[in-house]
Structure formats: C-alpha cells, structure tokens
C-alpha cells in the first residue's frame, strides 16, 4: 500500500512540474492583459527564453546566469512588441502573432549549434525529505526553486492586483485607458511595464523547459505551451488562482493520459491526447460561470490601441 501511495505522490509531483511553464507564462500574460494589452507572442517569448537560457548555460556554465539571462531575453523581445503596439500603435493581435513567428524562427537559428548538447543538472531542494517521507515527500520536496516560485506566483499576483496601489492602477488602465489618462496616470508607461513583466515571465517559463523539465535544446520545444497559457488566461477569466487550477488540470490530464496510453486502454490515442485541452476548458468554463465576476475581472480595453490627445 505504501508503495502505491508513494507512486501517487510521485505522479502528483510530476504533474506539478509539468504545469510550471504554464503557470509562469500565464501569470505573466495575465498581468499584461489586465493592463489592456493582448500579447499573442507568448509562445515566441517562451521559446526565446528557452534557447537563450540553454545557450547561456552552455556558454557560461552558470545556471543562475542562464535563468536571469532567459528572463532578460524574454523581456528584450517583449520590448519589440511594446514599441510596436504602444509607441507606434500597431494592432495587438497582428503584432503578437508576428512576435511568435519571429521567436520560433529566431530560436531555431540560434539553437542550431546547441542541438544534442546535454543539459546540466539543476539543483533540487530538500531532496532528503523527498525520499524519506512517503506520499507527501515527492509532492512537497525535491523540486527546483523555480517550481516553488511558480506555485507562489498566482497568489502573489492575486494579492498584487487586488491589494496594492500599483495593481489597482493596472486594473484601472485595463478598464479604461482614457479615464486613467485623464486621472493623470501614464497609461503608456503602465502598459510598457506590464508587457515587459509578461515577457520576463515567459522567458522564465521557457528556461524552465530547457534547463529543468527536459534539460536540452530541441527545436520548437515549447510545443504550443504558449498558446495553452494564453487560453488559460482567458478561460480562467483573468483570475490568477483559476489560472493555477487550470494549469494543474492541464498538466494532470497530460500526465495521466500518457499513463493511460502506456497501460494500453482501448481508447483511441488521439482522443486521449486531446483530453487535456477539452477537460481544462470544460472545468474552467464551469468554475467561471458567474457572469458578474467575469465582467469585473475582464479588462474592458483588452486589445484596444490607446493614444493620448495632445
């Protein structure tokens, strides 16, 4: 029995690990969207973060620099988006799509020389506890610091948006940039900051993939996780806690259906592979049914271009 319980613990630990990139990227995008900016470049920023983190690790042999570097490169590529949409007033959707295409191509180009290089072991915390405590051990311990950060992040984000002045200002800008501007808030600055923060978090999500989750560089290794993160934000109706729930469900069913495939259930593989997407959407739609709350959480100005009257 204790073996079984421990196995479930390990399974849950694996589910948590697989949902980390989604939580990080979605939490970053959530802040961006709350300020009224729709950045569809999540996938592109993530993969840039993945390759730059891996490349820096190979070059400097320093994991700390690699992680910081991935965040900075996610941030830099999001500046492109910021300049285009906020200063040159281009359309958010088109610019975001372009950013993703750019990121995927760029990462493939940089990544050519890094294919097949083995990754470095990322330090895990509290490994002793993991092995010595049955069930809870593999759930709570033996993870990288980024995982702990990722699981804290939705709560921090929630607190930040609801309780702090800056959070209030971000929500206000997302609600009505014109009103905010008339109140003396620098809308462009707020939106730039949120875009950059979103970029940094996507970069970190990418680094988690290439440094910890599957420590190597594979072309296109984000595999659509950026799009899932985007969808999570919308289906979680811009609530950070629901993003966490959604990411866990998605990660959970992804892992479970792999096991089901391995066991050889007589369900078509294609259906099993589609299961995470279907279930996540169903659950999030069901838990977000309160139309009043949706209205309160939805950034009214999402995707709208703002310019100041002179």
């Amino acid at each position: 029995m204790s073996f079984d319980l421990n196995f479930i613990g390990i399974l849950i630990g694996a589910i948590m690990a697989s949902s980390v990139p989604l939580i990080l990227a979605a939490s970053g995008e959530l802040i961006t969207e709350r300020s009224g900016v729709l950045n569809l470049g999540v996938e592109g920023m993530m993969i840039i973060g993945a390759i730059s983190g891996f490349a820096l690790m190979v070059i400097t042999d320093n994991l700390f620099l690699a992680v910081i570097g991935s965040m900075i490169s996610g941030l830099i590529i999001s500046i492109i988006f910021g300049v285009l949409t906020q200063s040159l007033l281009t359309n958010h959707v088109a610019t975001g799509l372009a950013l993703t295409i750019f990121g995927i191509g760029m990462s493939a180009m940089i990544g050519k020389n890094f294919v097949g290089i083995p990754g470095k072991e990322f330090p895990l915390l509290f490994v002793n506890f993991k092995e010595n405590i049955p069930f809870l051990g593999p759930i709570l311990f033996g993870h990288s610091i980024i995982l702990y950060f990722a699981f804290l992040l939705p709560f921090l984000t929630n607190y930040f948006l609801k309780k702090t002045k800056i959070g209030l200002i971000i929500r206000a800008v997302g609600d009505s940039p014109t009103s905010a501007s008339n109140q003396g808030i620098n809308v462009t600055l707020v939106r730039y900051s949120c875009i950059l923060y979103g970029g940094a978090m996507c970069g970190l999500a990418g680094a988690y993939l290439s440094l910890i989750y599957t420590p190597q560089w594979i072309e296109n290794m984000t595999g659509g996780r950026g799009w899932i993160a985007l969808a999570l934000v919308v289906f979680a109706t811009w609530s950070p806690i629901k993003v966490l729930i959604g990411a866990l469900i998605f990660g959970g069913i992804t892992i479970l259906q792999l096991h089901m495939q391995a066991v050889g259930l007589r369900i078509p593989v294609q259906l099993l592979s589609a299961l995470p997407y279907i279930m996540t959407i169903i659950v999030l739609v069901v838990i977000s049914r309160d139309s009043r709350k949706i209205k309160l959480n939805t950034p009214t100005s999402l995707g709208q271009i703002f310019y100041k009257e002179k």
Binding site: K165, L168, I169, R171, A172, D175, S176, T178, S179, A180, S181, N182, Q183, G184, I185, K295, L296, N297, T298, T300, E309, K310
Partner: protein, 499 residues
C-alpha cells in the same frame, strides 16, 4: 476663501476648425457661472484646457492672479481645479472606493473617513464597495463629484452634467451645486440647456464658433435672448397653423394593440386604439419608460405582436417587418440616434444605403452601386442642411444635430406618407431643434402624417394637432391641441385623470 480664476486670450486650433479663438473670461468664487453654447461652440475644448487634458496653442490661465501651467490633468489637480466630464472618467469594473483611491495619496482608512464625511455632509447615498457598473448615471456622477471634493477644490467644472440625468437627479444635483457654491467653491457649469442656466446660474458667458459673444448676469436674460445669442441670429419661432383637417382620409388605424413582455424592464401595452388622418400630427406624451419605446417598436415592425391590427392606408401591415413597412411608405426615426438609427462607424453614404433597400438602383446583382448612393446622400445632405457635404465621412463625427438631420432626411427623401419619430430633438442644441421642428411642421403641411412620441411637452404642444398621454402602457383619450394645457398633460402623465 476667495478664488479668482481668469483665462486670458486662450486659443486652440484643430485642423480645419478654430475651437477656441482668443477666449478671455473671469470667474470669482461664491457664484455659479454658466458657459453656454451650441454643440461645437468650443465649450468642451475650453474646459479640457482648464483641466489639463488639452494644451492650448496660446494664452494663459491665472488662479488668484498667479499664472498657472496646466500641462496635464495632474497639474489641474495640484491647483485644486476639479472637473466632472460629460462622459464619466470612471473605471466601471472597479469598486466605488477603488475608483476614489486611485488618484488619492491618502491612506485607505483616512480616505474612507473623508469620503464618509462628504457623503454625510451632502446627503449622498452611495455604497462604496460595489462596482461602479452597478450604479445609476446619477450615482456615477456623484462618485465623480466626490472624487473632486476629496481634494478640496477651489474650482469645480461641470461639463453638460444633466445630459444623462433624470429630472429628479437633476434637481438633486442643483441643490448640491448650490451647497458647494455656498461653501466657497467656484463653479463653472457648461451646458446648452437654457432653462438650466436661468434656474441655476448667477452669470452666463455665451460662446459661439470658438468665441465668447456675451457675458452677462442671468437676471438680465431670458430664454429668448440667450437663445438668440447662442445661435447668432434671430430664431424665427415658427408656429404651426391650426389644422382644419381638410383631408378626411384615415391613413393609419390601430386596433386592439396589446403587448406582453417577460422582460421586467419592458412595459406591457394594454389595449391601445387610435387612428390618424392624412396631414395630421399625433403627439404621444408621457414620462419615459411608460411604454413609448415598445409602442414605437410595434409601429416600426421591430416587434410583431399577435392579434393586433395595424391598418395603413387600408392595408393590414401588422405582420410586416420594418423594411416591408418602409416599402408601403412608412418611415421611422428611432429614439437612439447612435445605436438604433445609424451605425456610427459607417460612412454617411453607407448609413444612407442601409434602410433604402427599396431603391433598386442602389444595388445591382448584389453589388453596391456607390455612385448612385453617394449622389442620393449628397442630395440629403444639402436638402436637409447637414453641416457637411462629405459623404465619405464616418457618421460618428457628425454632431448630434447633424446626425439627426441626416436620419430624418434619409427617411423623408423618399416622401413617405407617415413618419413615426421618437424624441427627435433629444439632446440637441437650439438651432438643430428649430430646424427639425420646421421640417416636421412642413411635412404635415404637405399632407403627410406623423406620429410624434416625445417626452418634451413644449415640443408636443408646438407640433401636434392632437395629443394623448401614455401612462403605464395605457393611452389617455386623444385631445385636440387647443384643449390641452401643460398642466393637463402633467396630471395625465402622473397617472391622474382630468375632467
């Protein structure tokens, strides 16, 4: 606390339009000043300059004889100038308190305390912890006012504050404004409503085409004198000739009109029967929300009801949709210009094409014949003196008056036998109102009929031949206009009975 505000030679030029031309004005505390002008006279530009939203090309603003720079809304706040815009600057999804705290430097507890003091002092009743989108327009405006009051303003500017308010809310607002004025706040009140100027303000500055044309005490003014200053010409107050009903032909007959709705915000209509003669204008009075919009939609065919009989020139049309009714030469001008009558994002000529499917030469084999539509639109623009000849312009850039002229023109250019209009002059300035009234009188004189559903009694008494009142979905008896007095209408509108 004595406050003096002076603007000196302010100019602001937009491409193709001088919004403010060397404006100089002086204001002192303890009084309520009206800034009066038609839409587009430059009032809003001036107050945007005073609140730091727009920078003037030239000129200075002095507060207590000191020149102040107003480069941003923050500067206006720093100088204790508060501003309540016509379109609220609130964050709908945030709570009232969050809206107030966003630009306050105070701690939350201190802010709550001072907000509660303001609520108590001026007898405002607002729940601070519900989202703004749940408030009525009047309450939203109070939130805006409180936001200004927190900063102990020396100057409070109100831009067309009553355009969204009910009558009761307007009265409450006036009481509050007088209180603020007694507390030493200088109040500048921007409006195009003449009655409000006379009942609320001490002094009035009239603006026209970007210039100040007159400054005077309101005691010395009358509605007519102010109206003439505003429009810049002597308004010919047209009067309708008494209708001697020379045509006996009955053009429209409604019998057994009943309407039941499950929507609690709609009014049920109960057993309406009336008829309309050729060349007649039937006025339907009433306080808004008593079934007017349901009646309009049934007449226009937006709502089809069972068992109702609508006979138009002896044809049963009760089951026809609006397009089919137009083909029988009925025309409709709905209440809401922006969302019902026109599509603001479309160009003028596209809006013209929208309800003229009948005109077969507009569309050929499913393709739009732009040239024909544009010619037709140009004709409407010139025949109905819309203030532009550019049919390519998006309709949203037309002022309310010009948009209404376009809509009425679009309807009338096909020479319909019956025009049904609902609050055709709501929110318009004097010049436009006058024009529309003239137009409506003209069509009756040409032997065309009209139904005028309106909440404006002066308008009804001026234009109608017969009047009735709608109250809670029921119609009063129909009276000839010479038997009707405003008092009688008032009694019927409140649900009372006469004779």
């Amino acid at each position: 606390m004595n406050t003096k505000l002076r603007v000196s030679e302010i100019s602001k030029i937009y491409p193709g339009c001088v919004a403010n031309d060397e404006i100089s004005l002086e204001f002192g505390s303890g009084k309520i000043y009206a800034l009066l002008g038609e839409n587009g006279a430059g009032k809003s530009t001036l107050v945007k300059i005073l609140s730091g939203v727009v920078r003037p090309d030239k000129g200075e603003v002095f507060l207590n004889d000191k020149s102040i720079k107003l480069n941003s809304p923050l500067d206006a706040k720093k100088n204790n100038i508060g501003m309540v815009f016509q379109h609220f600057n609130l964050f709908e999804t945030l709570s009232v308190f969050e809206n107030l705290s966003i630009d306050s430097d105070k701690k939350n507890e201190d802010l709550r305390l001072s907000v509660n003091n303001i609520l108590k002092k001026y007898n405002f009743k607002i729940d601070l912890d519900i989202p703004v989108l749940n408030l009525s327009a009047g309450q939203k405006q109070k939130v805006e006012i409180i936001r200004c009051l927190i900063r102990n303003p020396k100057v409070l500017i109100m831009d067309e504050p009553t355009s969204v308010l009910t009558e009761q809310e307007t009265e409450d607002l006036f009481v509050s404004l007088k209180q603020f004025s007694d507390d030493g706040i200088l109040i500048i009140y921007i409006t195009h409503k003449l009655k409000e100027v006379l009942s609320l303000c001490d002094e009035v500055a009239v603006m026209r085409k970007g210039k100040v044309v007159s400054v005077s005490k309101t005691k010395e003014e009358k509605i007519e004198t102010l109206a003439n200053k505003m429009v810049g010409e002597n308004l010919s107050t047209i009067k309708k000739k008494i209708n001697n009903f020379k045509y006996s032909e009955e053009i429209l007959k409604i019998s057994n009109l009943n309407f039941r709705s499950d929507d609690p915000y709609e009014t049920n209509l109960i057993n309406l029967n009336f008829s309309l003669k050729k060349g007649e204008c039937l006025g339907i009075a009433g306080i808004s929300g008593n079934g007017q919009s349901e009646l309009f939609q049934i007449l226009s065919g937006e709502i089809i009801t069972d068992y109702t009989s609508i006979k138009f020139r002896d044809k049963e049309i009760s089951k026809l949709n609006p397009r089919e009714r137009r083909e029988y030469l009925m025309a409709f001008s709905p209440e809401d210009r922006i969302s019902q009558a026109a599509v603001p994002e479309l160009k003028i000529y596209e809006n013209v094409a929208l309800n003229n499917f009948k005109s077969s030469n507009f569309f050929e084999k499913g393709l739009v014949n732009e040239k024909k539509i544009k010619e037709h639109s140009k004709k409407i623009l010139s025949n109905f003196s819309v203030n532009t000849d550019n049919v390519e312009m998006k309709s949203q850039f037309l002022s309310g008056g010009n948009l209404q002229k376009l809509i009425i023109g679009r309807e009338l250019i096909t020479s319909p036998e019956l025009l049904v209009c609902f609050n055709p002059t709501w929110g318009l300035d004097v010049g436009a109102i006058n024009y529309i009234h003239e137009t409506l009188i003209n069509i009756n004189e040409q032997g065309k009929s009209s139904i005028l559903i309106s909440t404006d009694n002066d308008e009804l008494l001026k234009l109608s031949d017969r009047i009735c009142v709608i109250y809670k979905g029921k119609l009063s008896k129909i009276m000839y206009v010479n038997e009707v007095t405003p008092e009688k209408l008032g009694i019927l509108m409140g649900g009372g009975s006469i004779d």
